[in-house]
Structures are given as structure tokens and as C-alpha cells.
């Protein structure tokens, strides 16, 4: 059998098998082994895929059954399951959207499409490969960390009958569906996996079965069903215009002049925006943080929200040079700005992370909308680095939350004294989000230089990146704050937690150093046809006609600076420690000063969250309005 087909099957079906085994074999040890094995299979398969890329496969049948028929049946079963949940919770919107999708799918499959639609079902190019690597490696690492996390979680909430089998069933299924989504070329298949991710996220968000969890899960389900509906409509319109449902075929140049074609792409973009929780659809992702933290990590880094950016990056060549492209750029930049502004107003660590995700995805969309070679490179690099570092930050916050029983940034004050290693890893993650020479900033630099000719976009990006620095710097400072920890004593954590945090942290740093070569090997080949990538690489310096980014030299110099600073830090441990300045009236106890009547008063300082400017209450309505207006422009302007 073809090695390539085997790998594809492993990437998509191994998680499914693992998921089913998790529900059958219900003991902790066996389940852990299954999750570990599935993750290992995924990582190895993804690695083996590297030398084979790029390739296309027709893959018409599996075991003598028509693959298309299988997916068709599975599609309807899936919609029935969603309808079942709609009826169970008496949610009219979900029912209506479910019925609408069934009707549209019937129209498409039985009345419109005639004959075989796609000959090359699988298209594994470098963009797919990058996504598969992210999903299989980062996703598996998150599942690993979920093992100790969920044990502790159920212990903490005194769950009588363990619901972990179901939890890991959905987590693993999610990874398989994501791999399928990025590997298949046929839109009907992509739609199927799109809906699987919707269902999986619904099940995961509602996992804890509290009222709020159910409510938020239903919100995620109806919003993403709306996305599914937009997707089906887009498919129908695409098919009517091009007579094909193959992704590679519908993006041929020369089609962009047709209004219906652009409308189709606009609808697919709307589906993508909903998946990626862009304004005004952000509420489902914010609600998702009621779920156990590994779920948030999974949704935010390697799955779910990445579906949206993946789709738009795929579709971008189809709308290059159109009004649609311009509005997508402005919409993305707006999301970048609004997400960053809302993040500044939050003291809840998980909410800061959530808004930062929305914000960064906005920048990726903006890059896709700018639609030049440089901006696409920026988008792909940002996608990759964001996946790794956001996973790291979510898992860190999860570990912190289980220790200090709070996810509020104010409660993380002086975390270094309590859990030094986790605090250091978190700070490293924060630094990797905002500082050179790390990858996120590299892609932000590329994005800025690519966007510089688009005034609306560059102004919003400039404002947003300043806001971004603000909320991250505040958090890093808080983590390293007093009380002074006399000696460095690493805290105890489950081995699997270290095995998740360590590689992610190291991975983010190493990927940043090798970013130039990563660009040559992985990113540059994606850009074909209309795009020209002009960066040249000399001695670790990326350069094009108008910009230079000295990655390797900067890394070396930064490392030197770090070494000096660390040596200074070590020497500082021998310095005399004095209490913070309190106008000379401090008492012998730390943080206390002598107040009126010589009574000791505790000095307290909290962070600025500027609620009156950046608070959710103040901004959300306006931001939703702005997002709504831009969305109307995207869909209406396409006509």
C-alpha cells in the first residue's frame, strides 16, 4: 500500500481509534497509555510526512467503499447529532441552523453536484504539512498535560463517576478531525471536518456540566453552526460558479471578476471568522474558558481557531486584488486592535490570553487580506509561533491555577516565590510574545513592513502592538514581583506537566532561532503562482528590497546579553536585601509602614487595568458594532 495513504490514514484515523479505545477501556492507567501512544503515533506520522511533501492523492475508495459516500453519510449523522443536542436543550437557533444545513446539504449533494466532484481528494502541500505538524505535536503535548490535569481536576471537584473517558474521547477525536481538515482538498470533506470540530468544541466546553458550562457550550454550538451554514452556502455558490468543489480548482486566476464567486469566498471567510472568534463572534471563545484549561489550550493554539485562519490563507489567492481582500485586511487589523484593547482591561489571566488570541488571529487575517508574498509569510510564521507559545501560556496558567486556585493576575503577584520554574516559564512565554529576536515579533515586523502602504491597516497595527506590549509587560512584572525568594527551590509538578511545558518553551525559542531556515524550507514553497517571496537569507539575516531582520546575529547578541544579566543576577543573590522604599517609615515587617497613630499599615499596589477606557462594559458594544459593519462590507462589497 502507498506509504502516503497509510500516513494520512494514521493521522486522521489513529486518534479516532484511540478515542474509541478510551471509552471502552475505562481505567486510568490504560487510558493514559492510550493517549500517550496516540500522541506518539501522531507525532511520528507527522514527522514521516515531511520528506514526502508535497503530494496529491486521489484516494477514491477505502476497503472497496466509496470514500465520498462514507463522508456523505457521516455528514448527515453529524448534523443529526447536532440537531439532537438542539432538541435536547430546546435551543431554537441551533435547531433552525441544523435544519437549514441539512436542507442545503441535500440540495448540494443530490440536486446540484453531478458525477464525481474531486479527483484529487488529498492535497498535502507545505501549508498542510505545517498545520499537521502543529496539530500533531502541539495538540498531542496538550493531551499529555491533560492526563495529570484532569486527574487533579476531578479530584478537586469530587466527581463521583469519572468522565475522563468521554473527555479524552473528544480531545483525541478533535486532533483527527483537524488533521483531516487540513489534508483534504475536497470542500465537502473539509465541511465535514469543520462540523466535527464544532461538535467537539461544544462537547468539551460543556464538559463540567455546570449551568454556565452548558450555556456557554450552547452559545459556541449555535455560533459555529451559523459558521457551518455560511460554509454550506459558500460551497453552493462556489459550485455554481466554478463547477468544482476542489479547493485547488476553485482558486484559479481570472475568476475574481465574478460577483457570485466573490460572494462565495466572502461566505467562506465569514465561516472562518466565526471559527476564529473574530469580533463580533468573540463571545463563544470567551465563554469557552469555563472548560478545563487543556481544552482552552487546545482550542486556542493548535485546533479550532486555527481552522479559520487556515481557510482564509487557503482562499486568499482567490480574492487577491479585490475589494474583498482590502476589507479582510481592515477587518483583521480592527480585530488586532480591538482584541488588544480589551486585553488591556482584563485582570483575569485566561481572558487576557483569550483576547490576545483573537487579537493575534486578527493580525493573521490582516496579513491574508494584504495578500502579498511578504504578508503571507508573516501570516504563516505568526500562525506557527502563536500556536506554540499560546499553548505554553495556557498550560502554564492551568498549572498555576491548580496551585493557587485563581486565574487572576493580581493573585499571581510574587508567584516566583511559590512556583519559580512555572513562573519563569510563563515569563519566558510572555517575552516570546513581544520581544525580539523571537518569532512572534519577527512575524509582526514582517506584517508591519508588508502593511506599510495600507494606511488604515498600519495605523491600527501600530496602535495595537503598543497595547499588546502593555498587557504582556504588566503580567511579566507581576509574576516576578516580591516577596523575595531567598533560594531557588523548584516546585514539584507531575512529570507530564514538565514534559509539556519544557518542550513547548524550548520549542518556541529554538523555532525562533531557526526561523530563517524554516522560512526557506517550509514557508517559501507554499508561495507559488501569484506571490513572490523576495526575502534572501545570508548568514542568518533575512533581507528584502526594503527591510533587514538580522535574526541570527540578534539571537547571538541577545544570548550574550542574557548571559551577562544572569551572571549579574547570580551575584545579586549575595547582595544585601532591603525592603522596598516606603518614605522611610517602613516597619521591620515586609510591606508594612507606620501609619497614623504609629499603627502599622500594609502597603498595597495593584496593576492599572484602566477599566474606564478599556473595560469590557465600555468597549464590547462598540467593538461588536465595528466588527459587524466591517463584516457587512465584506459580504456586501463582494456582490
Amino acid at each position: 500500500m502507498d506509504m502516503r495513504a497509510v500516513l494520512i490514514a494514521l493521522l486522521v484515523l489513529a486518534p479516532l481509534v484511540g478515542a474509541i479505545l478510551c471509552t471502552i477501556l475505562r481505567t486510568q492507567a490504560v487510558r493514559s497509555a492510550i493517549v500517550l501512544a496516540t500522541g506518539a503515533i501522531l507525532m511520528v506520522s507527522a514527522a514521516l510526512l515531511i520528506p514526502l511533501t508535497p503530494f496529491k492523492l486521489s484516494l477514491a475508495s477505502v476497503f472497496g467503499l466509496d470514500l465520498h459516500r462514507i463522508v456523505q453519510v457521516a455528514d448527515f449523522i453529524l448534523l443529526l447529532i447536532i440537531l439532537y443536542y438542539g432538541f435536547k436543550h430546546r435551543h431554537l437557533v441551533i435547531i433552525a441552523l441544523g435544519l437549514f444545513q441539512v436542507a442545503m446539504l441535500v440540495t448540494l449533494e443530490f440536486f446540484l453536484v453531478s458525477g464525481p466532484t474531486a479527483y484529487e481528494r488529498i492535497n498535502c502541500d507545505y501549508l498542510s504539512l505545517m498545520m499537521v505538524l502543529i496539530i500533531s505535536i502541539v495538540g498531542s503535548i496538550i493531551c499529555y498535560q491533560a492526563i495529570p490535569y484532569m486527574r487533579e481536576h476531578e479530584h478537586h471537584y469530587h466527581v463521583p463517576h469519572s468522565r475522563q473517558p468521554r473527555f479524552f474521547f473528544v480531545m483525541l477525536l478533535f486532533l483527527g478531525a483537524m488533521n483531516g481538515l487540513v489534508l483534504f482538498n475536497d470542500l465537502t470533506f473539509i465541511y465535514f471536518f469543520f462540523e466535527v470540530t464544532t461538535l467537539c468544541s461544544f462537547l468539551l466546553i460543556g464538559h463540567d456540566r455546570t449551568t454556565i458550562a452548558t450555556q456557554n457550550a450552547l452559545r459556541a454550538l449555535w455560533m459555529n453552526s451559523a459558521g457551518g451554514a455560511a460554509f454550506v452556502l459558500g460551497m453552493i455558490a462556489v459550485y455554481r460558479e466554478t463547477g468544482s468543489l476542489e479547493l485547488q480548482n476553485i482558486l484559479l486566476p481570472g475568476l475574481a471578476s465574478s460577483g457570485v464567486y466573490l460572494l462565495a469566498l466572502a461566505l467562506l471567510c465569514v465561516a472562518a471568522f466565526i471559527k476564529s472568534a473574530q469580533f463580533p463572534f468573540q463571545s463563544w471563545l470567551l465563554g469557552a474558558m469555563v472548560a478545563p484549561t487543556p481544552v482552552s489550550a487546545l482550542l486556542h493554539s493548535s485546533t479550532m481557531v486555527k481552522v479559520g485562519v487556515y481557510l482564509v490563507l487557503r482562499l486568499a489567492p482567490g480574492f487577491a486584488g479585490t475589494f474583498l481582500s482590502q476589507t479582510v485586511a481592515v477587518f483583521g487589523a480592527f480585530s488586532f486592535l480591538a482584541g488588544a484593547a480589551l486585553a488591556v482591561g482584563q485582570s483575569n489571566g485566561k481572558k487576557v490570553l483569550a483576547y490576545s488570541t483573537i487579537s493575534n488571529l486578527g493580525l493573521i487575517f490582516a496579513c491574508a487580506g494584504i495578500n502579498t508574498g511578504e504578508s503571507m509569510i508573516a501570516a504563516m510564521l505568526l500562525l506557527m509561533f502563536h500556536a506554540v507559545i499560546k499553548a505554553l501560556l495556557f498550560l502554564s496558567v492551568g498549572a498555576i491555577e491548580q496551585r493557587i486556585a485563581s486565574r487572576d493576575i493580581e493573585d499571581m503577584r510574587g508567584l516566583y516565590a511559590v512556583m519559580p520554574v512555572t513562573a519563569l516559564i510563563t515569563v519566558t512565554g510572555v517575552v516570546m510574545m513581544i520581544m525580539p529576536p523571537f518569532g512572534v515579533l519577527l512575524s509582526k515586523w514582517m506584517a508591519m513592513e508588508a502593511a506599510a502602504r495600507n494606511l488604515y491597516v498600519i495605523i491600527m497595527i501600530a496602535l495595537a502592538s503598543a497595547l499588546t506590549v502593555m498587557y504582556w509587560a504588566r503580567w511579566a512584572g507581576t509574576l516576578m514581583s516580591d516577596p523575595f525568594a531567598g533560594r531557588f527551590r523548584p516546585e514539584r509538578q507531575p512529570v507530564l506537566t514538565w514534559l509539556a511545558l519544557g518542550p513547548l518553551c524550548a520549542g518556541g525559542a529554538v523555532l525562533s532561532v531557526v526561523a530563517p531556515w524554516l522560512y526557506l524550507w517550509l514557508i517559501k514553497p507554499v508561495l507559488s503562482g501569484s506571490y513572490t517571496a523576495t526575502y534572501t537569507l545570508t548568514a542568518g539575516v533575512l533581507e528584502n528590497a526594503y527591510g533587514t531582520f538580522a535574526i541570527l546575529p540578534l539571537c547571538v547578541v541577545a544570548l550574550l546579553g542574557l548571559v551577562v544579566a544572569v551572571v549579574a543576577l547570580k551575584r545579586a543573590f549575595t547582595s544585601k536585601v532591603v525592603p522596598a522604599y516606603m518614605s522611610g517609615i517602613q516597619t521591620s515587617e515586609p510591606f508594612m509602614f507606620l501609619g497614623p497613630m504609629n499603627q502599622p499599615v500594609k502597603a498595597e499596589a495593584r496593576n492599572y487595568y484602566l477599566d474606564s477606557i478599556f473595560g469590557e462594559k465600555r468597549l464590547t458594544d462598540w467593538v461588536n458594532l465595528g466588527g459587524g459593519i466591517l463584516l457587512t462590507l465584506i459580504v456586501g462589497g463582494a456582490l
Binding site: 506590549v469 514581583s481 528590497a545 531582520f549 551575584r571 545579586a572
Partner: protein, 283 residues
């Protein structure tokens, strides 16, 4: 290769020396404006030397780490400027220093350094977007972010980017910690939050932040020279005139609060930038 080494050495030496001289001149000028004689020109160097040999006292060891990161970042930024690298890259590296200084201040529990740190963050929030837009202006006119191309441009850029030069003036006032924007910390002894941001940096570590600040001063004045890069005379006039104006503004205005700063600087700065950028885009 030798040229690179010489330029790196120039950056590392010119930074503290020129920066120190500028702040010495600043103090003399300020004194004359206030009808005082003022300290000798080299006073800033004496001050820093004295601080360097003081006993090292720390509130939180991470402050030491942050002080070293601050000086590392600001010196690297200046060296990159001397090597005529990418303007945005220089801006980002410079921002690392600014952020590390804030992180260090936040790692102390003293309310003074805390409030100072948050005000500094608001200052960064005020000037950073404007600095990016100034750089975008250079790009729109010269078609490049590289300093080599900008210095090679045949006409003085001030003629095409007059409003962006004013915007850079606002940035400079904030960065040089001059009134009315000296919220986070101040050179003069009239701050309501003691030394704000720098309250808990002391001895050698305070000296490091001062030297790092000199590097920043030189870098920012280097930004000014870009507006008249065609001859040395133009550069010199531009620097002297700008610095004199900064000192004058410092001595004739009083400190305002951050709300005013943010709305005023964003309002005026963004409007001026937008006008100039549209002009460049259409011109």
C-alpha cells in the same frame, strides 16, 4: 568586517559619552533658564561614577536582571543604528529596554515604583505607535526601512515629512522624560511619587539605568538626523535646535496626568501623522 567592528565600537563608545555630554548640557541650559549657574558639564559622569561604586542593595534580585537587560537592549539598539540596520528592528530592540525597565520596577512592591511603572507603560503606549508611523513615513518617501537607503536619500526628508518631525518631537519629549510628560520619573526633584519608576533601583543598578538612558538619548537624536541626512551641518543644526526646544518646553510647562497625555498625544500625533502620510501616499 573591520568597518563593522569599528562601527560597533563607535556605537558603544559614542552612546555613553555623547549621551552624558548632552545631559550635562541639558543641566546647564536648564540652570541658565532658571537663573542659576548650574553644575559643570561633566557632572553626569561624576554622578554615575559615584553611583557605580556604591554598595549594591537590592529589593528584588530580578531588578538587577532587568537593569542589565535594559542597558543591553539600549546599547544594542544604538549599535544597530550605527550599523545602519532596519529602522523597525531598532525600534523593537529599543522597546525591549523600555519594557524591561518597567518589569523591573513592577517586581518591587513599593507603591512608588509601581505607580511609576504603570505610568511608564502608559508613556510607552502613547509614543510607540507614533514612532512606528514616523518610520512608515520614511518608508513611504524613500521606499525602504533600511537606514542605508534613508541616509543615501538625496533631498532632506524634513521637506516632505514636516508634520512627522513634529510628531517625533512629541515622542522625544516623552522619551527624554521632559515636562509635561515626565509622569513616570523625572530628572528634577519635584516628583510626587519620589523617583517613580526608578525608586527602588539603587547604587550601581541605578547607574546602569542612567547609562542606558544616555544610549537612548543618542539613539533618538540619531532619529532626528534622518530628517536632514544630506549634510553634517544640517544634522547638527537639527539636533541642537531640537534639544534646545526640548529643554525650553521642559522649563515652561508643568506636568499633566496620563489621561491628558494619552488623549493629547494620540489626538495630535495621530492626526499629524495621518495628514503627512496621506500627503506622501498621494504625492
Amino acid at each position: 568586517m573591520t568597518r563593522t567592528v569599528i562601527l560597533i565600537a563607535c556605537g558603544l563608545i559614542a552612546g555613553p559619552i555623547l549621551g552624558g555630554l548632552f545631559s550635562g548640557m541639558d543641566r546647564i541650559l536648564t540652570a541658565r533658564m532658571q537663573s542659576r549657574i548650574g553644575p559643570p558639564l561633566l557632572q553626569p559622569f561624576y554622578d554615575v561614577a559615584k553611583l557605580l561604586f556604591k554598595e549594591s542593595l537590592v529589593v528584588n534580585v530580578w531588578q538587577v536582571f532587568c537593569a542589565y537587560c535594559y542597558i543591553a537592549a539600549s546599547s544594542i539598539a544604538l549599535v544597530l543604528f550605527f550599523l545602519q540596520s532596519d529602522l523597525l528592528l531598532i525600534l523593537f530592540v529599543q522597546a525591549v529596554g523600555a519594557v524591561m525597565l518597567v518589569v523591573g520596577a513592577l517586581s518591587s512592591t513599593s507603591p512608588y515604583s509601581h505607580i511609576g511603572a504603570h505610568r511608564e507603560l502608559l508613556q510607552i503606549l502613547s509614543y510607540e505607535p507614533l514612532l512606528v508611523l514616523v518610520v512608515v513615513g520614511f518608508y513611504l518617501e524613500t521606499g525602504s526601512f533600511k537606514l542605508t537607503s534613508i541616509y543615501a536619500w538625496r533631498e532632506p526628508l524634513l521637506l516632505k515629512l514636516p508634520f512627522l518631525f513634529i510628531v517625533l518631537g512629541y515622542v522625544l519629549t516623552i522619551k527624554l522624560r521632559k515636562s509635561p510628560f515626565d509622569l513616570s520619573t523625572c530628572h528634577h526633584a519635584h516628583q510626587e511619587i519620589v523617583k517613580g519608576l526608578l525608586t527602588d533601583y539603587s547604587g550601581p543598578f541605578l547607574a546602569l539605568t542612567e547609562i542606558a538612558h544616555w544610549f537612548e538619548i543618542v539613539l533618538l537624536l540619531g532619529f532626528c538626523t534622518l530628517f536632514w541626512a544630506t549634510n553634517w551641518f544640517g544634522m547638527a543644526i537639527l539636533i541642537v535646535a531640537t534639544y534646545f526646544l526640548e529643554v525650553l518646553v521642559d522649563n515652561t510647562t508643568s506636568r499633566m496626568n496620563w489621561r491628558w497625555m494619552l488623549s493629547y498625544v494620540w489626538g495630535v500625533g495621530l492626526t499629524l501623522s495621518l495628514v503627512n502620510l496621506i500627503w506622501l501616499r498621494q504625492g
